[in-house]
Each structure stands twice: as structure tokens, then as C-alpha cells.
Amino acid sequence: MNLLEIIDLKTHFPTSNGLVKAVDTIDMSISEQETFGLIGETGCGKSVLGHSIIRLLQSDTVMKGKIIYKGKNLLEISEAEMRNIRGEEIAMILQNPTTSLNPVITVGEQIAEAIRLHQRLNKKDAKQKAIEMLEAVRIPSPSQRANEYPHEFSGGMKQRVMIAMGLACDPALVIADEPTKGLDVTIKIQIVELMKEVTAQKAMLLITHDLGVASEMCDRIALMYAGELVEYASVIEIFENPLHPYTIGFLDSLPGRGLVPIPGMSPSLIDLPDGCRFHPRCSHVMEICRQKHPGMTEMKDGHFVRCFHA
């Protein structure tokens, strides 16, 4: 059964230069306990998609379509109901752990407060729970570290704290927005291992541009380009049998596969190209690609691609 289903989602930002179509017609679903990877270049709209799910966007954002979570359309509920879902049902682990913790509040207190937002606990019990959470994310001597401030933690430790905070209320779905950004390789591996362990019983949407991390953690992967999904399939399918030229280009740009860059730049989200959005950069471009916008087609069981060529 699908825990989260996104139907025809559009998230547009009105600006003085025009409408920024950050998320444009996305359909996807995440089932319970599944880890779904969302991969794309910087600026393709993947973070906006993550934020759209819990409606954590500026107030003038235009959102259309449906986001069905446990049978409820999250775009139709009130802000107060949304607040109860954030953290309690759907939690977000943000990028940049260094700036995502309040510098003037102790780490233990921040986790305890996150718990108290949703659970009726007194301060002492919440603090105890916070220490347990710190222990769960493998922070050594948690009861002592809980009384320290964020600046006394290293980057990797801060990311552990962010994970502890996100999971404090035991949400069913975790949205992790580039959780390994800015961490060096050894720490990255530790964080990936930790996240795999603590989110084993949960559904997760992993937003990243790191295919290595995605392949390690995800069940399915979707490639996002210029506001839309271009291909999605199981991890094995994506790596063994990629169909979309963008996916192929993305894989070829990996250090292990020759470091071949995709020529050109991703288009402006205000002024998208006609036809296929990838055609100006595509090596297999055909006449039809310039004129018609390809739809999502199922090529194999569960392997969808948006390309005329495939």
C-alpha cells in the first residue's frame, strides 16, 4: 500500500522575472518502509519537491495537484493540521547541519523541545527521551553531550543530532534533504550506515545528487530534471539498464565510470525549452523531441521513462 502518493503536483513561485516552475507535474508514490531516492542536479527542483510535501514553502507559492498521505490530501488541510503532521508523521532532515541547529540552545534541549511539540511529556521525561535519541544515533556519553551547545559538536555529530531530532517523534515518513552534504567520505559512510539502520522500519524520501549514497540506501530511484521526473525504476534497473539519456549521462559522469560531463547547462525554470526539456543537451535528439513533450511510459515492470528515443 502506498504511504504517500503525489499526483500531478505543480509547485510554482511567482517572481518579478516570471513564474519559476520548480516542480512541474510530478507523479510518484512511496510505499511503507520503502526508501525512495530522488536524484538530480542542483536547481532541478528536488529540494522544492521535498519541501512541498510538508508545505514548508513561502506563502505566495502556487501549489496544484494532490499529495495523498494516508488517504488525506495534504494540500487541502489547514495549517494547524499540517503542523501536527510535521515532525509527528512526516519528519524532515535538512541539509547543512551546521546552521540547522539553534546556536543558543543546548542540543539535548532542542531534541526535547521537538518531542514536546507533539507529546505531552514533562521537561524531565522529554530530556530523558532526548538522551535516548542521542544514544540511538551513537553519540558517545549522550547524557553529558546533551548539555552542550551545537558549536561544541563536529559536523558529523551535528548531522547525527539532526537525525535524532527528526526521528524523535517516530514519524512514518522521513524526508532527508541531502543528509550527507558537506561531510567527508569516512563520516559520510558512517551517516549512511546510521540512517539505514534507524530508518529501517520507516519510509524515506532521500533527496541527493550523490548516486553512491542513493545506491547504498534506496529501493527505488527517480531522476529529476528541470522540474519533472525523467526516469524511475528500482536501483538495480537504473544502474544496469538506464534508458533516459540524462540518466545515462548522469551515470557516465560518475568518477568510477569515466567522469564524462553532460554538455550544456540545465535550463532556467522560468523559461523551459519546448518539447522535451532535455533535448538541447541530448546526444540522441530527434525531430519529435524538439516539438512534442514526451510522456511517462512504462518500459518494463515498474521502470518508467520520459523519452521518445528509449
Binding site: 514548508l56 503542523r83 501536527n84 515532525g87 519528519a91 541547529l101 539553534n102 517523534c169
Partner: protein, 287 residues
């Protein structure tokens, strides 16, 4: 480097490294001590007039160490009691102004839009008058006495806190820890009180300490002009005014309260500058 786990203790230590701030803090503590124990420290009753002993010069009679004024009241006793009034006025005005200013500034910065425009135009309008002129006008309208001085100074003073807190909130509300709090289900009210407020306390403490100096000086000025507490209340500004008539013959009557005002204002300015140095992240010394 000795490491304190508590940032408050850390700041106290850094403050004590600054000599001017230490001097300021010591003088303020001394003045507070004087204000609290004025009845025990005063040699005479500050309001008892004794016309036989009028206009005695300082350091001439042991009974009146700093001499007597034109009504024969002990200048030292009046000075000590005067510290009480100045400090109380300062604390009340700064406290209430800060509360009003922070509340309005945070709301203004956080919500933006129409609320922001209304509050900030009101601030601009208040600031477009010379502050002492506005205070004189308000004190004049409300009539003489300490309460009208306090109200007049609050009306002038709250704008500084509103501006500084609005400015801080504008940058704080875009920070990732606010976004993070929101992603965990925090409400606007919770974010303002739990996440934003603790982060603006630093600049507010600086403005408040420097504001104490300004308020004490303004209160003395209003008293000097006759809007403040009425005789025989011992107030430094009023003492200055009363001594004005005898400036040629008995200059100590103006010099002594003048020095008292100067010392108190200077002490708050020294402490305020020191606090600004340690609380301003741009000036933080990396140890």
C-alpha cells in the same frame, strides 16, 4: 584556554578582560549599593530644611560633608537618595520600553507586510521628532511628576528596541534552524519565543545598557526643566536647577549633582561599550 560550558560565564570572563567595562560595572554596582542603602548611608534627612544652616560649603562642617543647599538641606544625603530615583527611572523606562519594543519589533519583522508597515511607520514618525523635544511635550501634557517623566521617556525610547529586534528577526527568520523547527511542527508563536527571542537578547542587552545612560540623562534634563518630581524630592536634575541661582557664589551646588549624573551616565556607557564588544559576533576574538 579555560573552557566554560556555560556561555554566560564565558561572557562574564571576557567582560572582565575589558578594563573600561569592568570599571563601568563596578561603578554601577556601587551606585546600586548606594541606592539600596541610602537611608543607612545618609548622615541627615534629605528633605529636612534647616534655614540656619543654609549654604554651608563642602568639607567645612563635619555634620554636612558636602555642605547644604539654599534651604539648609544636606547635599550628600540628597545626592545619595537621588541615585535611587535615577536608577529606578532608568530601570523602569528601559524595562518597559524593551518589552514593548521587542514585542512589536519581533511581530513586525516576523510577519512583515501590512503589520510591519504600520508599526515601522509609527516608529519613523516617533523618530522624526527630536527625542528630548518630544519627551518635553509629552511630559508637559501629562503634568509634572515622576510618572509623566517615565511615560514620556518610554514613548521616545521603545523605538530603538523595535528597530533592533525587527532587524535581527529579518535575518533570523530565514535561518535554517527556524526552518528546521517549522519542519518539526513548531508554530509561529513557538518559533518567535523559543528560537528567535534568545538570539536577539545580545543586541538588546547592549542597547538597553547604553539606553540606561540616555534615559538617566534625559530624566535629569526633564527634571531640570521642572517636569520631574517636585520639591522637596531629592532628584539630581532638580538639584542642578535649584543650584543654578547660586552658581556664582556657591558653584558646588551645581557641580556636585552634575558630577553625579556624569559618573552614572559614564558608567553605563562604559559597560554598554564593553558588552557591545563581546556580544558583537563580528568582533569576537578567536582564542
Amino acid at each position: 584556554m579555560k573552557k566554560h560550558n556555560n556561555p554566560f560565564m564565558d561572557n562574564i570572563r571576557r567582560l572582565s578582560d575589558s578594563r573600561p567595562a569592568t570599571v563601568g560595572a563596578i561603578i554601577i554596582m556601587l551606585l546600586c549599593f548606594i541606592a539600596v542603602f541610602a537611608p543607612q548611608l545618609s548622615p541627615n534627612n534629605p528633605t529636612t530644611a534647616c534655614l540656619e544652616d543654609r549654604l554651608i560649603s563642602p568639607l567645612t562642617v563635619p555634620e554636612y560633608p558636602l555642605g547644604t543647599d539654599h534651604l539648609g538641606r544636606c547635599v550628600l544625603s540628597r545626592l545619595l537618595y537621588g541615585a535611587r530615583i535615577s536608577l529606578i527611572v532608568g530601570i523602569i523606562v528601559v524595562g518597559i520600553s524593551a518589552m514593548i519594543g521587542i514585542a512589536l519589533g519581533v511581530i513586525s519583522g516576523y510577519y512583515g507586510g501590512g503589520i510591519d508597515a504600520v508599526i515601522m511607520r509609527f516608529v519613523d514618525a516617533t523618530l522624526s521628532f527630536p527625542s528630548i523635544f518630544l519627551a518635553v511635550t509629552i511630559a508637559g501634557l501629562l503634568g509634572r511628576g515622576l510618572p509623566s517623566v517615565i511615560i514620556a521617556l518610554i514613548v521616545v525610547d521603545w523605538t530603538a528596541y523595535a528597530r533592533i529586534s525587527r532587524g535581527s528577526v529579518l535575518s533570523l527568520k530565514e535561518t535554517e534552524f527556524v526552518e528546521s523547527a517549522r519542519s518539526l511542527g513548531a508554530s509561529d508563536c513557538y518559533i518567535m519565543t523559543r528560537h528567535i527571542l534568545p538570539n536577539i537578547i545580545g543586541p538588546v542587552i547592549v542597547i538597553g545598557t547604553l539606553g540606561m545612560a540616555y534615559v538617566i540623562l534625559s530624566a535629569a534634563a526633564l527634571s531640570f526643566l521642572g517636569f520631574g518630581p517636585q520639591p522637596p524630592t531629592p532628584e539630581w536634575g532638580a538639584m542642578l536647577n535649584a543650584g543654578r541661582m547660586y552658581m556664582r557664589t556657591e558653584p558646588y551646588l551645581t557641580i556636585i549633582p552634575g558630577i553625579a549624573i556624569m559618573v552614572m551616565v559614564l558608567a553605563f556607557n562604559l559597560l554598554g561599550d564593553g558588552l557591545r564588544d563581546i556580544l558583537d559576533p563580528k568582533k569576537t576574538v578567536i582564542e
